[in-house]
Amino acid sequence: MTRDDDMLQATRRRFLLETAALAGAVGIAVPLGVKPASATPASMRAAIRKVVGEAPLNKGKVKIDVPPLIENGNAVPLTVSCESPMTADDHVKAIHVFAEKNPQPNVVSVQLGPRSGRATVSTRIRLADSQKVIAIAQMRDGSFWSGEAEVVVTLAACLEGV
């Protein structure tokens, strides 16, 4: 099944949920076989809090390189780079990447150190919809820095049938 079907399913489910709510949900059986497949900004904030705790999240030092317009959300090239001398005393310990509207907010977490030389990581990710991608760098001194990017995701025409 295609991701297009995923999105249709999610939309259908959301529609059913909303109409059920409107109708008071009395005696209306909403046929839900699958959990709603869509994160909310709240679940992303919760995932971020698990990493950052109560520490302040500073904006800066983290750059996200991602194409602003994506042809296909199945394989989006992503590069995160952080300003840091990467010395024993001053380096990026970890980078955590989140996506706001994916079914699950976590994307990848990497552990770095002074042997890394450069705090730059590249990968390819899946994005279910146009949304914000956030990268958080955890520094050796315990501080957290973040950068973000807005991405528009389109879809190919002539998809696969069942």
Partner: protein
């Protein structure tokens, strides 16, 4: 195809002037040129191109002994970099025993059943795709050149008819999108010219490597037309025509496409 896109396309087609017909040779562009810069970078880097994983698998399969004849591809064909150079660039090719052209995957299976005395690999199986990708990659960079063979003419004609006939619920022909409206947008994506320069290829939509036949089935689905089963002669006739239409363009196997 979403209803909105179908309306847009119908308007474009109805509102178009007389059909443009074949694309002039000098105006032909590979699907590569319609992709975003990052997708092109994925194809260009052999260490980032997922299709290369299948090429490596194919290289291993090339050396594997198969069937009751106990032969591997190496035993007859030696180093693929020498023996297979240029082969994919001239397929589909006429096969005397079959009395018709066959595509590269069928030719591999003919070797498997007749030379190796083994079973044919299923269409779209990982192994058949790996071998086709490995053989195809040996022609990378070479110009597509279907043999000028009298025997293939009727099949080339059949392929041309398949390309230009209207079909399916939307009553569309391949030519209407890929000859007459290439470069314009369909549901947000640019319509390419439809040249099979890089098959089998890694389609981001499939998240895996797939054959031209799989892609043609996607097209037929988009047109709301009935798909022929995998391995049907119609696909080979159409591929023969498409490769003739793409003559001179370089092979890109294994390509990456959205």
């Amino acid at each position: 195809m979403r209803p909105a896109a179908a309306v847009v396309l119908a308007t474009a087609v109805l509102g178009a002037t007389a059909t443009a017909g074949e694309i002039p040779l000098a105006d032909r562009k590979s699907g590569y040129e319609f992709m975003a810069r990052d997708t092109r970078a994925m194809q260009d880097d052999d260490t980032a191109n997922p299709g290369m994983l299948w090429v490596l698998d194919g290289e291993a399969l090339w050396k594997r002994t198969e069937g009751s004849a106990g032969k591997s591809c190496v035993d007859c064909h030696g180093d693929a970099r020498v023996s297979m150079k240029g082969v994919a660039a001239r397929y589909p090719a006429f096969n005397a025993a079959r009395g018709r052209p066959v595509d590269l995957e069928e030719r591999i299976n003919i070797c498997r059943t007749q030379q190796q005395q083994s079973t044919p690999l299923p269409f779209e199986s990982k192994e058949l795709l790996a071998l086709a990708a490995y053989v195809g990659q040996q022609s990378r960079g070479m110009p597509i050149e279907i043999a000028d063979d009298e025997r293939t003419k009727p099949f080339l004609q059949a392929g041309h008819e398949l390309f230009t006939q209207r079909q399916g619920q939307l009553n569309l022909s391949c030519a209407q999108c890929h000859d007459d409206n290439w470069g314009q947008k369909l549901a947000g994506a640019a319509i390419p010219q439809g040249h099979p320069t890089g098959y089998p290829l890694y389609r981001l939509e499939w998240q895996t490597l797939g054959s031209l036949q799989r892609r043609l089935r996607n097209c037929l689905f988009g047109m709301r037309a009935i798909s022929y089963p995998l391995g049907a002669p119609e696909y080979v006739d159409l591929e023969l025509y498409l490769m003739w239409r793409a003559r001179g363009m370089p092979v890109e196997t294994p390509a990456v496409r959205p």
